[in-house]
């Protein structure tokens, strides 16, 4: 029995107290504890061995693959995009080599990423907010590089290359190609632009991957499949910071995209764009302060090949390469776009305007086809026309003479066409609505089928449409009255007013029908898809055509005599002394026939609604059996068609025929 030891001796630090020391023996108790220690040791090693066995022996192959994938990067080797050419082979859109700076968000440090990006933004002179917004947009895929700058300058690239790799982890400097626009803003709306694919597009389109570039409008979008070519594949190894540690291996070669050949004529396009601007300036000089926009369509009446498609305001397509948010705001930010009156909008296709008097030939043709109008019987043209207690005025209140159809067209007599409209209204219900039916046959109220988008259908008002549109919900005060088709609806439709809306392209298509003798063409911009590079065919300088586009024209079987009467009226309109645009076209050496239009439109002037006139002119030349060019010009809020739109159209004819007009006297005529 061990004697119980006394208390420890106080006073010194940890005193040694011989009384509490026990003689040492290897007791069974100690042996047991040593045994436990030994057991723990074997257990611990057994656990480690089992785990290592499972990792290395059982799943070794899977982990070997994982380690391989860890450092293997497979990337697309982007194919150079095909060029876009005009009808004579002038390159409108080309590719240029550029150096892109990208950053992979996954490799940014957790702390201090913001400071790094700020520094990068300063070096590349890109707004920091742009970079962070792009990274935020791609939050779900941090391993895909985000483009910081599409085309960095040589100095910027040199500076970044000098920095140690740890300065900007995940930074990549890549040789790429960007779009080049040798003609500046020429046909910007038509050509469209190229941008990185958006998450929404990624969902709806197949065969694209995140980070791919895709056409974002115009030809670039509609013919993206042809233009983009086929991307190659690159493979290389990277270290944990994403820096390449091996040579880049080419797994697949990229195939360059096809060239797209347009029907456009670059010189005519330039003239058309200038004509719109000149038309706006002319309107402004005439105190039409709201005239800020316009469009011109020029096409070949034989097949619908578009020779010029101008829309103003326009934009510089290179802003999509520089990608500076403030430059892009007018195109992408709805509020800024509204303030700048939507420069991204292609008014020639997507602008819907009341056609006004340019619609009168539609009314006349329909009336003759329906035998409710005899062209050479006169109807009175008066200053105003009263029906059902309502008065409809002529644009020229002094008019007072009987007129045949050609004269009424030439002088654009509204009251003549009011009577035709009333005649349509008075038809028995079983005759349906022949004016609208004919207008629909002529392509109004539906898309033209042009190969770029978006385009508007316009609006062709019908009895059904009124009933659908005006309901208790949309028009609580007056829907019961508004939904009815009244005499005024037919009368106003006869002169292309009230609800009727058409795009300049729809209008041009109808005038092509007049010019070609009754065939409805499909307007189109692309004539062929061609092989790029040197052709190996029998004729080396002629590009190899991959596919050709010639949309067929539709024969509508209209009475040729009826068309002839309209043509005669439209020629008189440009040549007879009282014709609405005789002052503009009367002395032009090439016979041009056409119709002015001055369409009333309510516009929002900020605090109140005011009425402004949309100025139109549509027509063709040369007059006769071989028409070559239809031109339709619209100046928004420009006033009289004869004064503003007709001279703009003339400028296009001058360029096309290479002849300058000698005497031009624009007049205030509808």
């Amino acid at each position: 029995l061990a004697s119980r030891p006394g208390p420890l001796r106080p006073g010194r630090f940890l005193p040694r107290d011989p009384r509490v020391e026990a003689p040492y023996r290897l007791t069974p108790q100690l042996v047991f504890r040593i045994g436990i220690l030994g057991f723990l040791t074997f257990a611990a090693f057994a656990v480690l061995f089992v785990r290592l066995w499972s990792l290395q022996v059982l799943s070794g192959d899977e982990f070997a693959v994982a380690a391989q994938n860890n450092q293997l990067r497979v990337e697309p080797d982007y194919a150079p995009r095909g060029p876009i050419k005009d009808r004579y082979g002038r390159t409108l859109v080309d590719v240029a080599n550029a150096t892109a700076v990208k950053i992979t968000p996954a490799f940014l440090p957790k702390r201090g990423a913001y400071a790094k990006l700020r520094r990068l933004a300063r070096i590349l002179r890109v707004p920091l907010a742009d970079i962070t917004a792009d990274i935020e947009k791609q939050k779900g895929n941090p391993a895909i590089p985000v483009t910081v700058k599409e085309a960095a300058t040589f100095a910027e690239v040199a500076y970044l290359s000098e920095l140690p790799g740890t300065e900007f982890p995940g930074l990549r400097i890549e040789e790429t190609t960007v779009r080049k626009y040798p003609f500046g803003d020429l046909a910007a709306h038509v050509l469209g632009y190229v941008g990185e694919i958006s998450p929404e597009q990624l969902k709806s389109k197949r065969g694209y991957e995140l980070g791919d570039k895709i056409g974002q409008g115009g030809i670039e979008a509609s013919f993206d499949k042809e233009l983009r070519g086929r991307d190659g594949l690159l493979q290389y190894r990277v270290d944990s910071l994403g820096r390449p540690v091996s040579e880049i291996e080419q797994q697949e070669l990229p195939v360059p995209g096809y060239a797209v050949r347009l029907t456009l004529d670059a010189k005519l396009q330039r003239a058309a764009q200038q004509a719109v601007i000149d038309g706006i300036n002319r309107a402004q000089a005439d105190d039409k302060w709201y005239a800020r926009a316009g469009a011109i369509v020029a096409l070949d009446p034989k097949d619908g090949a578009i020779r010029a498609l101008a829309s103003y305001p326009t934009f510089d397509p290179t802003v999509y390469i520089r990608r500076k948010k403030s430059d892009l705001a007018p195109l992408l930010d709805p509020e800024v776009a509204e303030a700048e009156i939507f420069p991204a909008l292609n008014r020639a296709l997507a602008g819907a305007y009341p056609p006004g008097s340019t619609f009168k030939p539609v009314t006349a043709l329909a009336a003759m086809q329906e035998h409710i109008l005899t062209p050479y019987n006169s109807l009175p043209c008066t200053g105003s026309y009263k029906v059902a207690g309502q008065t409809f005025n002529n644009w020229d209140p002094t008019a007072n003479a009987p007129m045949t159809l050609p004269t009424a067209l030439a002088q654009s007599c509204d009251t003549y066409f009011y009577q035709v409209g009333k005649a349509f209204y008075d038809l028995p219900p079983e005759r349906k609505q022949p004016l609208q039916l004919w207008a629909a046959k002529f392509g109004f109220g539906k898309p033209t089928g042009i190969d770029v988008g978006p385009e508007t259908s316009g609006l062709l008002p019908t009895i059904d449409w009124k009933r659908r549109t005006f309901t208790k919900e949309t028009d609580p005060c007056c829907w019961e009255v508004d939904r009815l088709w009244k005499p005024g609806d037919s009368i106003q439709l006869a002169i292309g007013q009230k609800d009727m809306l058409a795009s300049p392209l729809q209008m041009a298509r109808f005038y092509a029908l007049l010019a070609n003798g009754g065939k409805l063409v499909t307007p189109h911009l692309v004539s062929a898809i061609e092989q790029t590079g040197a052709s190996t065919g029998p004729t080396p300088n002629v590009p190899l055509v991959h596919r050709r586009y010639q949309p067929p024209a539709k024969e509508l079987n209209i009475d040729p005599a009826a068309i002839e009467v309209i043509r005669e009226g439209l020629y008189e309109a440009t040549h007879s002394p009282l014709g609405t645009s005789s002052g503009v076209f009367g002395h032009f050496p090439i016979g041009v026939a056409g119709k002015t239009g001055t369409a009333e439109k309510e516009i929002d002037a900020g605090t109140y609604m005011r009425t402004e006139d949309t100025a139109w002119w549509c027509g063709w030349g040369p007059y006769g059996d071989n028409p070559e060019l239809v031109v339709c010009a619209v100046i928004e809020n420009g006033g009289f068609g004869g004064k503003v739109a007709a001279p703009a159209a003339l400028q296009v004819f001058e360029e096309y025929f290479g002849i300058e007009a000698t005497r031009v006297e624009a007049e205030e005529a509808d």
């Binding site: 020391e21 040492y24 504890r33 040593i34 611990a44 090693f45 290592l52 957790k110 270290d239």
Partner: protein, 388 residues
């Protein structure tokens, strides 16, 4: 006179020879061979792992590591010549030295990645907490051995805990969580071998479990942060590494991938992409085992682990040979400290233990760890030589 002198000489020679031969005979040769094997294997590994780490000098680390190994081996034999009783006699001084050095470390230490663990002396940078392991073993063994008869009393246990808590806290505050765990393991093993009551051992185990729960779980929930954020993330992250492969568990994921990719026969120093392309963090220190596993495969790590097993088995054997309580406790604490370091280090590379920054004994690049561990083996040899 001449005869006398001659007889003297004749008399002394066999005795000296006997002393010599008993030293050599009593050395634990198996332990020496196993440790030597691990050191050599480690140097071979380090040369393959660090060949690209210093541009232009593929042997930078291996040369330094070999130099430290030589110093350590010299220290091992020096240590084996000293009677363990010497250390027991000066245990109080040893404790004072331990506390003073650990106090000075934060004051004069060099900060590396926000921790102050190192002290620079001339061209050398040494890590006091590594040597502290051995000092703590010596002190606790002496303290408990001197209280053989009172070992069952609660007072003794609390006194030992209180005295060990000072270095544990000092190391924890550096912060060096891994070494603090090792110190705690030394305390536990010393108490266990010294013969603390089973009831007290189980109470201590329960308290330890509760503290761990609080530090990792309840504490953060009520905003009491004992660990730094990164420490807790690494510790909790090992339980479900695939949750966030790019975040706090990146290290674990890459380490497991490296180990698994090694397969049965390894990918060799050239093919070990996880190591060579820096996917594996700290591939020469904390994660040296993962690099070894990647380069040498299951075969290679089996050799290494069996050598470790041999070392610990021999260390446990030494406990049974100890001539007194001090020697037994010291040997037991050293054996368990080695076991816990190996288990945590290897375990963390294969996702079985938290990432705490404990070096792999005799292999991880680092002079202090190498020398301190070899000195500990020297103490084991000293105990073994002066056996019962």
């Amino acid at each position: 006179m001449v005869d006398y002198a001659a007889t003297q000489r004749i008399a002394t020679r066999p005795r000296a020879r006997a002393r010599e031969s008993s030293y050599l005979r009593n050395l634990d040769w198996a332990l020496l061979v196993a440790v030597g094997g691990i050191v050599a294997y480690g140097l071979w590994m380090i040369s393959g792992i660090t060949k690209d780490d210093v541009a232009g000098d593929p042997n930078y680390y291996v040369v330094r590591q070999a130099a430290y190994a030589l110093i350590g081996v010299a220290g091992l034999f020096g240590m084996s010549l000293i009677d363990p009783g010497f250390w027991r006699k000066h245990a109080r001084l040893v404790y004072g030295l331990l506390v003073v050095v650990l106090l000075l470390t934060p004051l004069f230490g060099t900060s590396v990645r926000n921790t102050r663990r190192w002290i620079d002396i001339g061209a050398f940078r040494f890590q006091p907490s590594e040597f502290g392991k051995l000092l703590l073993v010596i002190f606790l063994a002496a303290f408990l051995a001197e209280r053989g008869k009172r070992i069952y009393e609660r007072q003794t246990t609390t006194a030992a805990i209180g005295l060990a808590a000072v270095p544990v806290l000092l190391v924890f505050l550096q912060p060096d969580f891994g070494t603090a765990i090792v110190y705690t393991a030394i305390l536990g093993a010393a108490l266990f071998i010294a013969g603390t009551r089973w009831s007290q051992v189980s109470v201590l185990l329960v308290i330890g479990a509760l503290v761990a729960t609080f530090v990792l779980w309840i504490g953060p929930a009520i905003d009491v942060e004992v660990l730094k954020d990164y420490q807790r993330q690494r510790i909790t992250g090992f339980m479900n590494p695939s949750r966030d492969p790019s975040g706090s568990t990146w290290n674990i994921t890459q380490s497991i991938t490296a180990v698994g990719a090694g397969g049965v026969r390894g990918r060799g120093p050239e093919g070990a992409t996880q190591t060579n392309y820096d996917y594996l963090p700290e591939h020469a220190t904390d994660f040296v085992f993962a690099s070894t596993a990647e380069q040498r495969g299951f075969v290679g790590v089996t050799v290494l682990l069996l050598l470790y097993l041999l070392v610990i088995w021999r260390a446990i054997k030494v406990i049974t040979l100890a001539r007194d309580a001090f020697a037994a406790i010291a040997a037991g604490a050293i054996a368990f400290a080695l076991l816990i370091q190996i288990f945590i280090n290897v375990g963390m590379t294969i996702g079985m233990a938290p990432i705490t920054g404990i070096p792999l004994p005799f292999v991880s690049v680092g002079g202090s760890s190498m020398v301190a561990n070899l000195l500990a083996i020297g103490l084991l040899q000293a105990i073994c030589v002066r056996r019962r």
